[in-house]
Amino acid sequence: MKEFNAVITIAYRDLMKLLRDRTRLITSLIFPFIFIGILGGSLQAGLGASVGINLLTFTFTGVLAQTLFMSASQGVISLIDDRENDFSQEIFVAPISRYTIVFGKILGETLVALVQGLGILVFGLVLGIQFSLELFVAMAPIVVIVCLFGGAFGVVILANLGTRRAADQIFNFIMLPQYFLAGVFNPIQNLPWYLDILSKLSPLRYAVDLARGVFYAGSPDYRVVLASPLVNLAIIAAEFAGFLIFGTVLFVRRERNR
């Protein structure tokens, strides 16, 4: 019960920190807006007709999943330098298990990402993306899953990196290729075999494809989806468990044996 309270406290704090920080709230939405508004909009205007699918919607779904995934993982990775800053120092010396800290942080960063997701959704509606109530309800659990998955992915990176500098440098290196391998903006149906292998190794691919699988269900554009949502869910569940167990154990061990 005590550990549960601690998880909730850590998560609630993350959410409050975001909501009270207006600058951060706005800047966190700039990149998704650029990607969807400018990239998606221009792709649709230039190529949409010849490709035969709505590229704005395609980019929107991709960027939604990618932003949630990345925001959650980046948030978890921030634990690296947090231990020497603000209230986080308190968290690290509190009489709670290290596992509690990791779980609380994943949950908190999931909430933070969901706030961003809400902003992206509103932006999408403004751009004219069709969103029925049923679709909203169907997408709700999916976005939560994507966030949690991103958080777990963050724990693995966190556990393998010692310093903030290393994290910042490596993170881009790990994330940027995934944008393209996961097909956030670009269709990846027909990849050369070596890119196909890399794509299948990229966790973000399954998050993006799951989001699209549910979003496009019953629509003619469903052909952009690579695998059934059930397949994606199964892969995500397996990777999530692996990341979480491996990452947390490694993190806890590393945290004290510096």
Binding site: T9, R13, M16, F87, P95, S97
Partner: protein
């Protein structure tokens, strides 16, 4: 009485480091004691405090706090200690009350609820009392960023006391405070010590803050250089002396030699007391003096002397 902190042969070597950051140190602290750990930057203070507060595993040796082993029973140790970090540990965008509430929940004192009004009556009473002590009844619901530096520090101390720790660690608590805030804070810490009997473990660079410590431990290069009460540390290392001068230096020199008082000319006469009292020396001297100054060492003199010897 059983010591509340027992450190035995504590050693820490960081990964890939060529030397020990803390090198086989042992000391103990009695309950209620005001203990100071001093040393230059890089001496091993922060490493020692990190091990004692269970955020770092030692390479060898042991540390027992309030009867619990810092490695094997880290959680029990944590419940019994409070820590004021070198860097502020408050969330600037959250209110003072939220910072306190999150701390209280993490220490298992109350269940978490998302608003102050929903928290148990006992908690609200506690916060009310704390706010009254600090005189911030109104500001307690304001974001921390509106508080002054000194006020933030006090709030951190109050927060760290909410789970009634047996030992309070203060890691350079007055760093960056102006003299008035610094004095205020110390006044406040003294009051707390008097009221709660909490053991205080301090690291600082301001040596005047250590004058009323019970024991001082100076470390350098990971080893203990000196340990003891301030009086003991000073007496051991720095001589008390008299500074004398006369219109006629010739007579004074002759007289001091005749009285067998060892002195150094700087060109004024520096006479080491060597156990004699100032009174006795003055009575013995007949030469009219133009300068008479007594010099008793401060903690700073002792500290600089000790570290100077280390270097040499």
């Amino acid at each position: 009485m059983q010591p509340i902190i027992i450190v035995e042969n504590l050693t820490k070597r960081y990964r890939n480091a060529s030397a020990n950051a803390v090198d086989d140190i042992s000391f103990s602290v009695a309950p209620g004691e005001f203990f100071c750990l001093l040393g230059p930057n890089g001496a091993g203070k922060t490493t020692t405090i990190s091990i004692l507060t269970t955020t770092l595993a030692p390479t060898a040796g042991s540390a027992m706090l309030a009867g619990y082993d810092a490695v094997k029973s880290a959680s029990a140790v944590r419940r019994n200690i409070g820590i004021i970090f070198q860097k502020p540990s408050l969330d600037m965008n959250l209110t003072a009350e939220e910072n306190i509430r999150f701390h209280a929940v993490l220490y298992g004192l109350y269940p978490f609820l998302p608003a102050y009004a929903l928290m148990p009556r006992a908690y609200r009473a506690r916060v009310h009392d704390l706010a009254a002590i600090l005189g911030i009844e109104k500001e307690i619901f304001n974001p921390i960023k509106t508080f002054s530096q000194g006020m933030k520090r006090k709030l951190e101390i109050i927060r760290s006391l909410i789970h009634q720790p047996k030992i309070l660690f203060l890691d350079e608590p007055t760093l960056g405070l102006d003299p008035i805030s610094r004095r205020n804070l110390w006044q406040y810490i003294r009051t707390i010590r008097a009221e709660t009997g909490t053991t205080v473990f301090l690291t600082t660079h301001y040596l005047d803050e250590t004058e009323d410590a019970d024991n001082i431990c100076i470390i350098n290069n990971g080893k203990i250089v000196t340990y003891g009460s301030p009086a003991h540390v000073k007496a051991d290392l720095v001589q008390e002396y008299l500074l004398l001068d006369a219109g006629n230096r010739e007579t004074l020199r002759e007289e001091l030699s005749r009285l067998e008082l060892p002195f150094v000319e700087t060109p004024q006469f520096k006479v080491n007391l060597n156990g004699r009292t100032t009174q006795a020396i003055i009575q013995a001297i007949a030469t009219p003096l133009t300068v008479l100054q007594t010099h008793s060492p401060t903690m700073e003199d002792a500290y600089l002397e000790i570290l100077g010897k280390e270097k040499a």
